[in-house]
């Protein structure tokens, strides 16, 4: 068994973002962790289910599943592995990606926000995406409705590269209404996920997905977010990675700007009002 095969098996059995296993695999090696698990070197009662799953899993099966979904299985050491994700406290064991994989290592800006944007948010996210594309940045977002879609579309309209980090299997088009958008993204950019093909987007996976968005990009921009919003999590993840976080202000009576104002108020994000502002801020904080 080589490292890639060991990672494939562990990837299929361990949910993304698991701090302990992620640290173990990256500090030792996938092969070692796999063998120790099989040999019962970890708590056998606690990890009984995991060990059982590992014993029945086959690396070939995992890799052929990924292959039949038309995607690539990326592990550290691959030429196209985005090294930036290793800054995470719990780096992904592996990634499944399709499209233009070189896009993953481009300098990129994450644009995130609510699924229910106002006209204002929709416009701003598209404008910022296009503005950064003009400066040869890629745009990373989550492929969801709302701000995410407008950011992806803005990048595509400006003929740029955009990356969707999704919370479901690579062959599951979630949300289904964005199926065409995903196809367009793949033409020049990429779709990435940390979930096995065929698996649905569970609520917990959105949170682990958000940390990947933060890690894949050099800076994060929150366009519109409600008081409780998953985008705020992305912002905090980016801040933990010491990556610049920016937020777009809005009217104080707009519920979809409340999250941005919260970030700005807590000094967790820099207030930006133009693409030029944002570029300057990122340049000064890198």
């Amino acid at each position: 068994m080589n490292e890639r095969e060991a990672r494939a098996i562990l990837f299929s059995a361990i949910e993304g973002g698991h701090l302990f296993w992620s640290r173990e695999i990256f500090s030792q090696s996938a092969v070692m962790v796999y063998e120790k698990l099989i040999a019962g070197a970890y708590d056998t009662i606690k990890f009984e289910k995991l060990t059982k799953e590992l014993k029945s899993a086959s690396a070939d099966l995992v890799l052929s599943l990924v292959d039949s979904a038309g995607a690539n299985f990326l592990t550290p050491g691959d030429a196209l592995w985005p090294i930036a994700v290793e800054d995470l406290l719990a780096p992904p064991i592996a990634l499944i990606a399709k499209g233009n994989l070189a896009a993953l290592s481009m300098q990129s800006l994450a644009i995130v926000g609510t699924r229910n944007p106002t006209n204002y948010g929709a416009r701003i996210s598209g404008d910022f995406a296009a503005g950064f594309v003009d400066r040869e940045w890629a745009i990373v977002s989550g492929g969801a409705y709302g701000i995410d879609s407008f950011a992806h579309k803005g990048a595509l309209i400006a003929e740029g590269v955009t990356i969707a980090v999704v919370a479901s299997g690579i062959d599951v088009n979630y949300p289904a209404g964005n199926t065409r958008l995903f196809a367009e993204i793949c033409e020049s950019g990429a779709i990435v996920t940390e979930v096995m093909p065929g698996h649905p987007a569970l609520p917990a996976r959105f949170l682990t997905r958000n940390r990947l968005i933060a890690a894949l990009s050099q800076a994060t921009l929150v366009v519109e977010a409600a008081f409780r919003s998953g985008s705020l999590r992305t912002a905090h993840d980016a801040a933990e990675l010491m990556r610049p976080v920016m937020a777009i202000p809005g009217p104080i009576n707009s519920p979809t700007s409340e999250g941005c104002h919260r970030l700005i108020g807590e000094r967790a994000a820099e207030l930006v009002t133009s693409v030029a502002d944002a570029v300057e801020f990122i340049g000064a904080n890198r």
Binding site: R115, R123, G126, A226, P255, E258
Partner: protein, 506 residues
């Protein structure tokens, strides 16, 4: 004489058919037969007629009575034949001269003591009678105001069978109470001056009234969406006489469900509750096809509050009337077409709990719920909505202001002037409102000025608007140009239209 004949009217939708009521009394066992496809209410007429006659001290013929309503193939329903049957019966019995009643149409339901109760559909029934050459009509006193609209007929409004008989036998009748047939011009109760603040929504209402643009008001509970919607009829131009007749005819068919005065010139407003059914919305029914809310709102406003709460299908059933201005209902007894040209006003909360406004901290809805809520309205129906207007809560400054906003009368003057401009522009084209300009004409004859078009094409290029959105903006732009007195929508008009149209098209 044991045979007599008179007239009544059967209604199929708004179309009336004069029905000949024939009664034959023959020797034989006492039996009563009613021919001519009667429905349940009409079949019961025997007992009403009999009791009414007996209680008016008339003699019920204890012989074989045959009542025939012809044409026999036409299904007939309702209680308005009671009076005609009673009169023909008495005539066949030889107590009323038969010649007199042949040229008269009788409409009315009898109560057991002989009083004549009001019936629905008087106006369309009289129109049908007049068209077939009958000029004298006996109607229930309660329907006198509506019947009085038929100026060219002799209308005899009577409240009791006994009085009808006396009139037929002696020619005497009580001097009818003088009824005021004047058209009523305004409804003084509601006024736009009552609405505090809400400048944007007021402007949107004015645009909607001027150009006939369907409108969606989105805002939290208590912001004033309903207040604004209810006042839109007060700024619509008053109905022309022929329009008012159409409205009264439709409302007459739904008598008992609306309280509209038959002589009102005010545009009607109908606000069905969001739990309404498809049939109630577009019309229907098995025996008598009745107009639905969208036809009752003909030439007026159809206001649906809490629109996303409507069961799916109810709002979509409005698509045909929105497109065609009429609604055709097909039932086994026939096809009926009702007019349905209305201004659609929808109101919606921003989310299921209604609190996703201001800072949005009290809202308990999930992001998906918020998204899905207004999403229920999307699709083909929203294609026909030109204006999506946010209605923010009223601020304390607006409430504290002592000066009132503009009154309906002031706004209506502008609406009428702007509509006149549009009507002149569209002369001979078959439509008169800006919302009806076909897409093709928007790109050719009715294109806005060049700078405005460039602005729109830029927006289209950057995918800020869709092609459909572009058309809507130009239509609203024309309405603004008419209100501002511009011959052609300027860049400013188009930008204002773009702003006020609002909303994200996903």
């Amino acid at each position: 004489m044991s045979l007599a004949q008179t007239n009544s009217v059967a209604l199929l939708g708004l179309d009336g058919h004069v029905v000949t009521v024939e009664v034959d009394i023959a020797d034989g066992l006492p039996v009563y037969t009613l021919l001519g496809l009667p429905d349940a209410a009409l079949s019961e007429s025997r007992d009403r007629v009999r009791a009414a006659m007996v209680n008016c001290a008339e003699v019920w013929p204890n012989r074989k009575v045959t009542v025939s309503l012809s044409p026999a193939w036409l299904p007939k329903s309702g209680s308005s034949f009671d009076l005609g049957i009673a009169i023909a019966l008495l005539s066949a019995h030889g107590t009323i001269p038969p010649e007199r009643i042949r040229e008269i149409v009788f409409l009315g339901e009898l109560s057991l003591d002989g009083r004549i109760r009001s019936v629905r559909g008087i106006l369309p029934a009289l129109i049908a009678a007049y068209k077939s050459g009958i000029t004298i009509a006996v109607v229930p006193l309660a329907n006198a105001a509506e019947a009085g609209l038929m100026h060219n007929m002799e209308i005899i409004a009577i409240d009791h069978l006994r009085n009808v008989l006396r009139w037929l036998r002696t020619g005497e009748r009580e001097v009818a109470q003088e009824i005021d047939y004047q058209w009523k011009e305004s409804d003084e109760r509601l006024d736009f001056a009552d609405v505090a603040g809400q400048e944007q929504a007021r402007l949107a209402a004015e645009i909607a009234a001027t150009g006939g643009h369907h409108i969606l008001l989105i805002g939290p509970p208590g912001a004033g969406k309903t207040m604004i919607a209810e006042r839109i009829p007060t700024i619509l131009p008053q109905l022309r006489i022929e329009q008012a007749l159409e409205v009264t005819a439709v409302h007459s068919l739904a008598a008992g469900f609306t309280r509209r005065s038959p002589t009102s010139l005010v545009a009607p407003i109908v606000s069905p509750h969001h739990t309404t059914t498809r049939v109630a919305m577009v019309g229907g029914g098995a025996h008598a096809i009745k107009p639905g809310a969208c036809s009752l709102a003909h030439h007026g406003v159809l206001f649906i509050d809490e629109a996303p709460e409507c069961p799916s299908g109810v709002l979509d059933s409005l698509r045909q009337p929105l497109e065609a201005g009429t609604i055709t209902i097909a039932r086994s007894i026939g096809n009926v077409t009702f007019p349905a040209q209305f201004l659609l006003v929808l109101a919606a909360n921003p989310c299921p709990c209604g609190k996703f406004t201001g800072r949005g901290r009290n809202c308990t809805c999930t992001s998906a719920q918020v998204r899905r809520y207004l999403g229920k309205l999307s699709g083909p129906l929203m294609d026909r909505i030109d204006l999506r207007v946010p209605v923010d809560p009223v601020g304390r400054i607006d409430l504290a202001r002592s000066d009132l906003g503009e009154s309906s009368a002031v706004i209506r003057t502008r609406v009428i002037a702007a509509r006149a401009v549009a009507e002149r522009r569209f002369e001979g084209l078959g439509y008169s409102l800006n919302s009806a300009i076909p897409a093709r004409s928007l790109r050719t004859v009715f294109q806005p000025e060049r700078a405005a078009m460039n602005f729109l094409h830029d927006e289209l290029e950057r995918e800020h608007i869709t092609a459909r959105g572009l058309h809507k903006i130009i239509r609203v732009g024309w309405t603004l140009a008419d209100l501002h007195g511009h011959g052609l929508p300027t860049l400013a008009d188009i930008k204002q239209a773009h702003t006020i149209r609002g909303g994200v098209e996903l």
